[in-house]
């Protein structure tokens, strides 16, 4: 149930509502649920339109981050959690052939993706081919200036976030994105963040990120 449905009778005509079952924001423009939203189109293609607003927002953030990538830049994705398969797939689909190369490393594997149509199937097959990349976690940061490293992890696993942040210290160009970072009781890995002189910005949608630009 949407949180908004619980409180709408008490509100006087809010101008814009963004709500799912864990958040409700009033008087804001929504760019993600609309039919011109690329995030929404992407999630629909994989039968995932019922994911949380946070995931919509993550896909949109990924799109905003990669939309200017052009050759000779290449992209390497390090997907530390299975639950971050959709964001990795979004990098693959939205960067497409605009990068010289895309490589993906998912040490814990990926989740099964619900392929709704043959076009989506083609995107997934290409994503899977990019997974067979011989990339390892040790490769993070060891690259030339044209390489962009993207790390995806989930705050539900503290070790994963610690490992991700530690690895991100070495990244010269790219970003780390932590799903569920703003959730109550999620690890904030404060010591690692402070000692590496990082700042992880926590979005209202719930994910955290830090960029190397």
């Amino acid at each position: 149930m949407k949180l908004y449905d619980l409180i709408k009778d008490k509100l006087k005509d809010p101008q814009g509502v963004i709500s799912d079952n864990e958040m409700c924001v009033l008087n804001r423009r929504d760019f993600l649920y609309s039919e011109t939203s690329t995030s929404s189109a992407f999630l629909k293609m994989f039968g995932a339109e019922r994911v949380t607003y946070e995931m919509y927002s993550i896909i949109d953030f990924v799109h905003a981050s990669v939309c200017k990538i052009r050759p000779p830049n290449q992209v390497r994705v390090f997907q530390l959690s299975q639950s971050m398969t959709l964001p990795s797939l979004a990098v693959s689909a939205l960067v497409g052939d605009q990068a010289s190369k895309i490589q993906i490393h998912a040490p814990r594997g990926i989740q099964a993706v619900d392929v709704k149509d043959p076009f989506a199937k083609m995107l997934v097959e290409r994503f899977e081919s990019q997974l067979n990349s011989n990339l390892t976690m040790a490769d993070i940061g060891s690259c030339d200036a044209n390489t962009i490293d993207i790390l995806f992890c989930n705050a539900s696993n503290e070790a994963e976030v610690s490992s991700g942040l530690k690895s991100f210290e070495k990244v010269k160009r790219g970003f780390i994105l932590i799903k569920g970072y703003g959730r109550n009781k999620a690890p904030n890995c404060g010591e690692i963040i402070l000692s590496a002189r990082l700042n992880v910005h926590c979005t209202l949608a719930g994910f955290g990120f830090s960029s190397a630009i």
């Binding site: 189109a41 293609m45 939309c67």
Partner: protein, 532 residues
Amino acid sequence: MKLAAQADEALKNNLLDKALEISEVITRYNRSAGLAYKGVVALRKEEFDQAEELLLESFQLNAKQHLALANLIPTYIKKRDFKKAVAFGEQAYAAMPKNQSVCINFAAALLQEQSYSKALEILEPHLDLEKPNVSVISGLISCYRSLFMKTEADEMLAVAEKHFGDKHEIIRLKADTLAERSPVAALESFKAALEKDPNNIATRWNMSLVQLRLGEFEEGWVNYDNGLLPEVGKIGRPLPKLFEGAKCVTDMNTIDPNKWTYAVCEQGIGDQVLFLGVLRQFLTDYPKTVLIAEKRFRPILQRSFPEVPVHPYGSGPFLSANSEVVNGYVPIGSFQKKYRSSKEDFIKNRQVYLNPDQAKLAKFREILLKKTGADRIVGFSWKGGYWERAQKTKTLDIELWDPIFKDQNTIFVSLQYGEVSKEKEYLASKYKNIRWIDGLDFKKDLDGWFALICACDEIISVSTALVHFAGAAGRSVHLLLSDRGAPFIWGLEGDSSIAYTDIKIHRKQVSQTNEEFFEGVAQKALTKVSAA
């Protein structure tokens, strides 16, 4: 003041480099004025982005900088941003109501935004019949034509022809004026206009609609693609900005069938249905197709074309990012020139291609027939069109429909979308056999509306999206056309549609009264219903 006079003189003589030099000097003493002159130079050089930047800064520095304000209107017209052109036009007109150049530009922007009455009000004081200005006179003709002021349009056209008869602009206006009442003569004028300016995109676009109306499909569809170009603007075939950066394919022969192609639905929802009549042929040739359509249309399309992925407009960026595996996008109107280049192509390919939700359809029939005890359901719709001019052409006021509703053996169901409260009240006071489906938003719940259309035994309607949906579903439709013109697909003569299997066309003749016309329709349409 002296420098400004020099700059004005240089601009008058089109000495742009000199004007720029002087404006540099002016900038040192009066930044706002200097920027305004630089903006005008940029505008004359057709550097529209720079002109916008300079003129906006000038205007921000000094809100009374009339030169900047006046030139922001043509700048935004050139940038095809008519809303902003109108916004600055309003300010400029308030500040300089007698300035002819401001008035002409403001009126041009208003015409693009379909505000004909306002444009007329602004232009009329500038008409000088002895020494007419070509822009004033052509603007006035456009206004009169759009406001259906036929006599005034003809009189003004005569003045225009007398003074500027050899100008492309005037020949085209003559063609536009003739387009609906005499398409053959209009086509001749369009061709004459193109002899003066063979590459004029807007003329080719306007001509395409006349060619299609005349059944000259082969050349008509080729010229129809001019509507995709920015010169025509939003009265043409504007496509979602989300597809910018990807390749627009209009020549079907350049499509690689081994790559994916996005077929993008465009124009109004009725046009989309018409264009989708060729989709099955397109899919045979190019099976790797993704259809891009509005969310509300999706359930109907998925049911009717189960083999095709249907994605929302938000999918646009996947195209530009994946050029190695995707051909690009084809606006569905551009399919037509490959598959519908003659009247015979239409006729031999007429088929049912949209399927309603059968469960919803059955439910509507049950409710409507059981509750009323009637034998038949007839759906009706009396107004259509998106643009003001199209609305005036298509709509047949509900007060004229009395002969239809007199049939007491039939239940009539309103299929009219949009605001209908006045008509509802009017009909409720006169008839007991008319039903309104409350709780079903015809614009949003397209699938529900389509099922309701298909639940009807007959449809009687003016030209609107309803007719295309019913036609594509193979339903029996009586299409009512006014004597003020009609969309090209209904042609100029004949009593059946070339595009759909069971559409009977009733054309009101100028010599007929409205009563005679509706009596005739009632007799033909409802007699058949009773006999069926």
